[in-house]
């Protein structure tokens, strides 16, 4: 006696709890792996999961078993040329006979246990690193949002979207259209009948025929339906991505000799966060990378983060270049302009007031938001002093912060999110 049961509709994610537990147990390892992978990824490449590898010795479940050594007998299939009593050289590296069942059971071949995490999980670990509050995490990791908007009428839909007025109007038009010929004919016949009746020819065959025709026509007119399926119109809803506008993000970074790779890595996280935030709010985002030491240059992302230069620092060169690029390519009526500047605080002493002047006089009036982060554990220098004045004057669009580790990045964003116009995004 057999029962056949279709289980395909039962839940398929029975293992999710266990998977979750595994991820929780190896949280630290995964965070490290995520951190490492960020350095390999481009800022704009946050839309996919990641393969995580953990050394097998960390995930190994111990059990008591025989080690190698001692005197062992093993039976193998597939003998070709051996005879009893033959001696064989042992392979180098004592382990010997690694083809036996035992060794392969323990899977010693692989020294890394690797698996995939999803995009959401990836972002989660990233945000964790940045100490983002949950609400912000959620906002940033959500995929594109849509608003439904009414758009015209369609002939198919659900009853709740039925447009009564439209449908009846259609029905009316159809009834007129379908009956116009018949009515005309009817009128003619009625006129003819009246003529005959006027002649007092009550029951001649002609009159009877006319009457019959008239009744037939009237019956057919009656059969034209009041409301037909064809008439029904439904309100249609379309999904519109919201909001849909363009933004450009300027990444400005000091690449002078004093900027170490660690500082650049922290800066990169800051840019990623800004990018994710902008992505949430804008349909189309362009990135411009400007790096500078004593002179500024627009470069590719790869060069921006990973090529090293030495020399002094003149920050104003980068600001000038940005101003130039904005004027050439990004008319500020079309584009929402964001800029993030990262530096270790070094600047040519005489240059700092000039920077403040460029920003205050022209740049800040063009941009939506300008963020300056100073990644240094040390005392502030001239540039910070010069910018402090600006942040008072342009509190709504200029933010600055000192960052010592990735966890400090978020406060800069809090200011950004706190702004009235972005309340809805939060």
């Amino acid at each position: 006696m057999s029962y056949i049961i279709d289980r395909r509709l039962n839940g398929k994610n029975k293992s999710m709890v266990n998977r979750e537990r595994f991820l929780r147990r190896y949280r630290q390892h995964i965070k490290e792996a995520v951190s490492e992978s960020i350095n390999r990824r481009s800022i704009t490449d946050m839309e996919r999961g990641e393969q995580i590898s953990i050394p097998t010795r960390n995930t190994h479940e111990p059990s008591i078993s025989h080690g190698s050594g001692g005197k062992q007998h093993r039976v193998f299939p597939g003998n070709k040329e051996f005879h009893a009593g033959d001696q064989l050289d042992k392979p180098q590296q004592g382990g010997g006979g690694s083809g036996s069942g035992k060794a392969s059971n323990q899977g010693e071949g692989e020294d890394e246990f690797s698996f995939y995490i999803t995009r959401d999980e990836f972002l989660n670990y990233l945000f964790d690193d940045l100490a983002l509050p949950n609400m912000i995490k959620k906002t940033l990791s959500q995929s594109k949002e849509f608003k439904t908007r009414r758009a015209s009428f369609v002939s198919e839909g659900t009853p709740n979207n039925l447009s009564v007025v439209r449908s009846l109007r259609n029905a009316h038009a159809r009834r007129i259209g379908m009956s116009v010929g018949k009515r005309k004919k009817l009128k003619e016949l009625q006129a003819e009948l009246a003529e005959h009746l006027a002649k007092n020819a009550d029951d001649t065959a002609e009159v009877l025929a006319l009457k019959e025709q008239i009744t037939e026509l009237e019956r057919r007119l009656k059969t034209i339906p009041f409301l037909d399926d064809l008439d029904l119109r439904y309100r249609s809803q379309v999904k519109v991505p919201t909001p849909s506008s363009k933004a450009v993000m300027f990444c400005i970074m000091d690449v002078s000799g004093s900027m170490t790779q660690d500082i650049k890595d922290i800066a990169k996280r800051f840019y990623i966060l800004l990018y994710l935030f902008l992505q949430k709010n804008y349909e189309h985002i362009e990135l411009v990378f400007i790096r500078h030491h004593t002179s500024a240059r627009e470069v590719s992302e790869e060069d921006f983060f990973y090529s090293r230069e030495t020399g002094g620092t003149i920050v104003s060169s980068a600001l000038k270049l940005m101003q130039q690029i904005v004027e050439e390519r990004y008319q500020n009526t079309d584009w929402n302009i964001y800029a993030a500047q990262a530096s270790d605080g070094d600047n040519w002493d005489d240059d700092s007031p000039l920077c403040a002047k460029i920003l205050g006089d022209s740049l800040l009036s063009m941009v939506q938001y300008f963020a300056y982060i100073e990644i240094t554990p040390n005392q502030h220098q001239a540039l910070w002093e010069a910018y402090t004045g600006l942040s008072r004057q342009f509190a709504s669009r200029f933010a600055m912060a000192q960052i010592r580790n990735p966890g400090d990045i978020y406060p800069v964003f809090r200011e950004l999110f706190a702004k009235d116009r972005y309340q809805e995004a939060v």
Binding site: I4, R21, G70, H73, N79
Partner: protein
Amino acid sequence: MSEKAREYLSTDSDWTFELLEVYDREIARIAKLYKLDTYPNQIEIISAEQMMDAYSSVGMPIGYNHWSYGKQFLATQKGYKRGQMGLAYEIVINSDPCIAYLMEENTMPMQALVIAHACYGHNSFFKGNYLFRTWTDASSIIDYLLFAKNYVRHCEERYGQEEVEQVLDACHALQNYGVDRYRRPKPISAAEEKTRQKERENILQQQVNDLWRTLPASLKAEKNNKKRKFPSEPQENILYFLEKNAPLLAPWQREIIRIVRKISQYFYPQRQTQVMNEGWATFWHYTLLNHLYDEGKVTDGFMMEFLTSHTNVVLQPGFDSPYFSGINPYALGFNMFQDIKRICENPTDEDREWFPDIAGSDWLETLHFAMNNFKDESFIQQFLSPKMMRDFHLFSIYDDDEKNKYLIEAIHDERGYRTLREMLARQYDLSVREPNIQIWSVDLEGDRSLTLRHTMQNGTPLSTDTHEVLKHLHFLWGFDIHLETYKDERMVKRQSCPSVAIEE
């Protein structure tokens, strides 16, 4: 066969529920001709994702939650998504009714193969083999697993997930030592477990308290008895010993040990009958479907597809092949059952000399006898014929770590047959495969330390994991652990936890 007699059950490669029923009925009918006695079947159709779930919970339909199953799942998922690994066509559970999972992706011939293999092959093995009859209770396992899952979850709610995880980790490390090898365990029953579990908690705690009583009166009594040896006999079931005697465990922790122990006990027969179980199931899918073909109920195309996968299943690559990963239990088991059938039906002179009892006897009866009364080790010892050894080109090597060369000690020839058979059988003997470790003594009056004794076999040392396992043991016992390795009645090594003092 005349054209008229050929009435195919189906000609399409797609399956439907109606067709599954038809095939199942036909296969059941033929299975009856061959006297296959089975539990009722519960055939469940599942998707690939669900198969991955089933995989990662050691094939159990319900299990308590633990990170190690998540690890298993991630590994399976990765392998499957990358296409490195196909999923099994089926998973079958030793329960009553016998649950078999079939993947929806399978074609009709594959579903028929799986039904014959799992629902009539494995199923009859579960019902007939003496180990399963003695050690597992098919009717109660699902209920027990449900009880275990709920109990573990309840503990997590009450004592915290991490606390529970720590106990489970420790138990898993010792799960192969949670088995009664020689005594028949009481059948488990979920209903009973629940009602008596509370009661047991109290009694257990009381017994433990008695053991560790420190009141002066009993101390005096003990002194009179000189030194009380505890346990009086060495104990091989380490988890059982801990459950009953560990001084510091809370009642719920003892219950969790018990759960791991019971489940480990349930799998114990499967670990000892892999070759036989797979061989038996493979032999029957082969025999049953061929019978179906001979009756003219399936098409040639059906047979081609069936034979292709059957051939893949019973492929045995040689030791020097890149695909070699040990002796394939399907291949060895299937060919041995085929060989026994051959010995019964067409014995050669050699067979008559080696197997006087079965040569020329009724093959079906002999096969059933073998299935009922043996485990891998004894099955090979009893039934591996010289012809099989020749067909497989078996040879045995002797590896002495003090010499720098392997010795070929036996090959498939007249002089080697007996040694070869002996060696292969030993390879499947659990007591040889797993180190012999027993609870030796507890220092009741002193530091309460627990001493285990490892008796070395053939000078093989323990794996490097052992110290990690001792840490888990230490966690459960609560006091020092010593593991002494004895070789020829002489202690050669002593490991301790927590102190890593190694004395030669």
